[in-house]
């Protein structure tokens, strides 16, 4: 287990380092970032001043090392437009997005796991077909359109929930549904496949032959093993959600990291953009690391890989 942990940790660090390099070079894909910041019609002297102010005149490798050293200390530089340290803004907004992501993944699991289990217990039944329909429809629904439709129905027609903002828990209901629904199909399919596979295994036949009641077999014996891959999928999907919440946060005007990303993209606030991408990537790397370690802990066969 120790060797596996060390190896996995090493890979995670290397991934994080590579992501930081890509994120840093992102601002150079257009050529000169100083020109991009100055905007159209800027004078050459202004561009030169911007280049000096942000240190774009230094060699790229020096800029990268400087930026990375800062990032490691939790210093992402100052925002171009908000005139505050980027780290302060990000860590003020991050909890909101994590809350939204947690609510969304919670919604997805509560909907998907029972559906997946029921579908697997009665394969090819009406319920299985219904679950499959939910999955197929969920995968095809454009998130932003689903969110707007929710606003239109739950917010405007029936006036059940507030439309925008992030002040009370009610504000999080629609965004969590809109964000979580997209994940439901994957979780449901995996639960269904896992339960189906486990139910066909020998130890379940033994449990049944011993005369255990069907609910005991299902919940105590089958589900425990079938749920392991679902846990790691949920962790990975949670990471995806934090990055994908930009659309939902923009629509519902939730003051989280996604909305901040949207604002900084509109204002071409490069340090903030870079920092958000890096922070989200590192969170994702940590989540997959945790999921892998958890899986290896629960299932020793995986440690060999």
């Amino acid at each position: 287990m120790l060797a596996f942990t060390v190896k996995r940790l090493g890979v995670a660090l290397l991934v994080a380092l590579t992501v930081s390099l890509i994120t840093f070079s992102m601002i150079y894909v257009s050529g000169d970032p100083a020109i991009a910041i100055a905007g159209e019609g800027a004078r050459a002297s202004d561009i030169e001043a911007i280049r000096k102010f942000y240190g774009f005149d230094r060699p790229i490798i020096v800029q990268y090392v400087d930026w990375l050293a800062g990032a490691l200390r939790g210093d992402f530089g100052r925002s171009f437009t908000l005139r505050q340290p980027v780290a302060d803004i990000i860590f003020a907004r991050l909890p909101v997005t994590i809350l939204l992501g947690a609510a969304a993944i919670g919604f997805a699991l509560v909907l998907a796991i029972p559906l997946g289990v029921l579908a697997a217990v009665r394969p090819n039944s009406m319920l299985d077909r219904f679950a499959l329909t939910v999955a197929v429809v969920g995968q095809a629904m454009p998130t932003f359109w689903f969110a707007l439709t929710l606003i239109l129905w739950l917010g405007v027609t029936w006036r059940l929930l507030p439309i925008t903002g992030s002040d009370t828990w009610q504000h999080f209901v629609m965004p969590a549904i809109a964000l979580g629904y997209f994940v439901t199909p994957a979780v449901m399919r995996l639960t269904r496949a896992g339960v189906l596979e486990v139910l066909a295994s020998d130890y379940i036949r033994t449990a049944r032959a011993k005369g255990l009641r069907p609910p005991t077999v299902l919940f105590k014996h089958a589900l425990r093993n079938a749920i392991i891959p679902v846990v790691s999928l949920a962790a990975v999907q949670f990471g995806f959600m934090l990055g994908g919440s930009i659309v939902i946060e923009t629509i519902f005007q939730i003051n989280g990291l996604g909305y901040l990303a949207w604002e900084s993209i509109q204002r071409k606030d490069l340090p903030t953009m870079q920092a958000i991408v890096l922070v989200l990537a590192v969170i994702y790397v940590l989540l997959t690391l945790l999921a892998d370690l958890l899986n290896a802990f629960l299932d020793p066969r995986l440690r060999a890989a």
């Binding site: 290397l14 991934v15 197929v136 995968q139 932003f144 606003i151 990055g243 923009t250 990303a261 997959t288």
Partner: protein
């Protein structure tokens, strides 16, 4: 002797003795698969609509007429409704049906192009990782992990905003971002094929590696490739719509379904059909492609269902 193979007593007919050919079986599975048939039909209709857009669209999708703005669709009722604009007009008086028909071109163009780019990248990475294994496999797995840790929508938005948005930029950004599933699926498919005897036989015969990859591996992983291609095409279409919705995809006045929803966002409380119509079009297209993909997986490799 043949008696044992016969399913029932009586005079054996030709059909009882001759097993149906694989082609007949495949055709039979296709015709029995409702999801595949429905998905394929909807997709065919949308593709035809895109190809024949100039013939189908009743008006020029760019033609503004402020005197005729915000006419509701025909099922809506009311004084303004007219058959000249079956789906009504938008806030600039442009015919909504025409914009919808031309919008299919944008979605399909971006979906197919981004899928081709990502398909080439992902397939090359996946096949070499699966075939060579060892260090090559480790390197490719590392590249895939790195790519997965970068949030797609965010990176796409950031890059498009820095480079400047245009149809070509959107296609390339999406194509360069969504190859991960191609790589993952092609890798495991190739690993399975690599372990088979006919690969060893080909190696023993002295076939070159490119030849083995092309003539032995490729035909056997093709069905997986087609399934992933449909899923990634749907993925690209949804991403383009999201980018356009956020204003960083296809630029106005181009008729893109995501952009149509975005432009009508402010009016949706008064004229909800403005977002409902392009939303349903997007939903139908993505649903059709996914149903086709799922169906193809079922009929070509029934054991991989799940």
């Amino acid at each position: 002797m043949t008696q044992a193979a016969l399913p029932r007593a009586g005079i054996p007919t030709a059909a009882d003795i001759l097993a149906p050919s694989p082609g007949v079986l495949l055709r039979r599975r296709i015709l029995r698969h409702w999801g595949l048939l429905i998905g394929g039909t909807i997709l065919a209709v949308i593709v035809l609509m895109a190809l024949l857009a100039p013939l189908i669209a009743p008006h020029d999708p760019y033609d503004q007429d402020l005197a005729r703005k915000l006419i509701p669709p025909i099922w809506h009722g009311g004084a303004k409704v007219t058959w000249a604009h079956p789906l009504g007009t938008d806030q600039l008086g442009r015919d909504y049906l025409s914009r919808l028909v031309y919008g299919a071109r944008i979605s399909l163009l971006i979906g197919v192009s981004a899928m081709l780019i990502s398909g080439v990248i992902g397939t090359v990475l996946g096949v070499i990782a699966g075939y060579f294994g060892g260090r090559v496999d480790m390197l490719v797995s590392f590249i895939v992990t790195t790519r997965l840790s970068m949030p797609v929508v965010l990176v796409a938005l950031a890059v498009v905003s820095i480079v400047g948005s245009s149809l070509t930029v959107v296609i390339w950004v999406l194509g360069l971002l969504i190859w991960d599933r191609f790589a993952v699926v092609m890798r495991s498919a190739t690993q399975q094929i690599r372990a088979r005897e006919f690969i060893t036989a080909a190696q023993a015969l002295g076939c070159s590696t490119p030849r083995i990859l092309l003539t032995e591996v490729a035909p056997n992983v093709l069905n997986h490739l087609i399934v992933v291609a449909t899923l990634e095409m749907a993925h690209a279409i949804l991403l383009e719509a999201a980018l356009s919705f956020l204003g960083l995809g296809v630029q106005p006045p181009t008729p893109s379904w995501g952009l149509m929803v975005s432009e009508a966002k402010g009016l949706m409380f008064f004229d909800p059909w403005l977002i409902t119509i392009p939303g349903i079009a997007l939903f139908a297209l993505v649903l059709a492609i996914n149903m086709l993909g799922d169906g193809l997986r079922d009929v070509t490799a029934p054991e991989n269902r799940g």
